[in-house]
Amino acid sequence: MDSALFPEGVKRCSPKVFLLWTLPWLALLAWGGLSAFLCLWKGLNQTNMSNIFAFALWIVFDLAVIALGAGAFFTGFLTYVIGRKELKSIINAAVIIGFICYSGAVAMLGIDIGQPIRGWFIFWHANVHSMLTEVSFCITCYLAVLAIEYIPIVLENRQVQKVRELRLFGHNLHHVMGVFAATGTFLSFFHQGSLGGMFGVMYARPFAERWDFYVWPTTFFLFVFSAIAAGPCFTILCSKLAEAVSRKKLVPDNAVQFLAKVSGWLLSGYIVLKILDTLVWADTTVPSAGLELMDFYREGPYGIWMLIAEIGIFGIIPAILLMVPKARQNPGLLIIACLMNCTGIVLNRFVFVIATLAIPVMPFARFWSYLPTWQEWGIAMAMLGYGFLLFSASYRYLPVFPREKELNPAVYGA
């Protein structure tokens, strides 16, 4: 009955099935909605955040999704700026995923701050020295860019196409997409970096502090690097998931393989730098603060395993898997590699947020542990539900995967 909205000549499951599919995600959204209401109405006492854990689950989530969402700008960069035609078949998916990640992140931030109605003071009374200001500016702008990149996809809906102005509008946006891709790349570079900078500049927190390279701490570049290394993998994972769920092939292998290869090389590059950075930090910053490396890794659950897991297991291994053609051409290994890559980056963000705050700096300050409340989880999970919903809906009603038909002769006939 909603088939009139489907893209030209593709098959989609029945409304009933689709509705069933959305139910769990709607449930997550409801949970998140309730949590959000409580946090906004009663205040942040609904969470387990504290003066010690000023940043917590939500910030970890924000950093993670923003890093993973980097697939959008980077794929856009490769497609429009570098001009890799094969990526046209995945760029739409990348853009939507990016849009989901960023819009979700911004929504979460809106709840995370104590004075949501004053949030815009960041722009109204901006302090240009604050990395967070830079982050806010770039993220908001980039979210706008993503929206602009998303609109033409929406406008490609069969019914919308019937309206002349909109159709024309959509077409013309396509033509200038290159510009937006470039803008997006520029903005993303900075906010991804500034997100890293946020922690690198906390020079009174030896665990996070990093030495400056020009005006930016090394974390600035490491965050950019890690984001573009993990983003594409996340895009791959999502499209693979879509393929699994829809039981159709949606993205040609050459596109996936190309992204995987790029990820692999970038990741390996990142890991090398990360190791260097860690060594320099352990050799300069840490001793100058009167500490030894292991002092950071003896509090509660935050042991040295974090470093090993982040760099070794979830860094080097996926890098190799993705660089070796044989490995990444094996579907199973490819998925595993992408998963590990993403895990590594999420772990990295987790360490920078939680471990940084958990490890006391004053010798007589004591260690605290933190567990999120159901409200905190609610908001985080809503992010997930929102993602699934928007992506499913887009897939159902918009030509997200332009080559769906030709890739599935079995379904659509040759």
């Binding site: 102005e165 509008f169 077409h171 013309n172």
Partner: protein, 237 residues
Amino acid sequence: MENQSNASEKNSKGGSREWSELLNSTFLPPFSLKGWLFFLAGLVPALIAGWVIFPMVLYSSQEQPFNFSHVIHADPDIGIGGDTELETCLYCHYFRDDGTFAGIPDLYACTMCHDDPEYPMGDSEDEMIFLEQYVAEDKEVPWLVYSRQPDCVYFSHIAHVKMGEMDCTTCHGDFGQSEKPPAYKQNRLSGYSIDIWGRNIAGFKTDTWDRMKMSDCAECHTEMGHEENNACFVCHK
């Protein structure tokens, strides 16, 4: 497949042409007269709403409990006399020993002169209201304070009036000459008096006392060569 893509190719090329035509005819001159009319039909009401209706809606207006004439009180023959205008003001709006500013005098200060509810000093009915409803009842007058700053603001009168040798009028205008206190206009959104929040709706400022916002304080500090007093805590608490 082939022709499909071709089609879309052509379509989009043609599309771009049509598109530009569409844009031009909608937004770029020469407009058709009809176009103009519609444009104005949108423009004019907007202007009226913005310049005429908006200010009326934005501010509420309240009268003081009863009339108070600065002119009479500041008349040396009838009321208070001082060698300078400042002295005259300070007679009622005085500094306490600890340097803090008394602001609008409390009932006690007024009863220095208006000591007996039975015997008015003048013959205005406002004085009778004052004597009967407040002096006799020993109740403070709920004056509406035109220049009350938000609670987060700290202002030291003595720093400006005594050390800075500023005139009252610089910020308060010529209240001292008023026969009747003007209506108290309160901004419905911010909740503050129009006298500190900007008399001119467009934010233009002709006299120094038109507005007492943070930017105005800072501006004056800077002009007077006191940038150091623009630090947050100088005026915030």
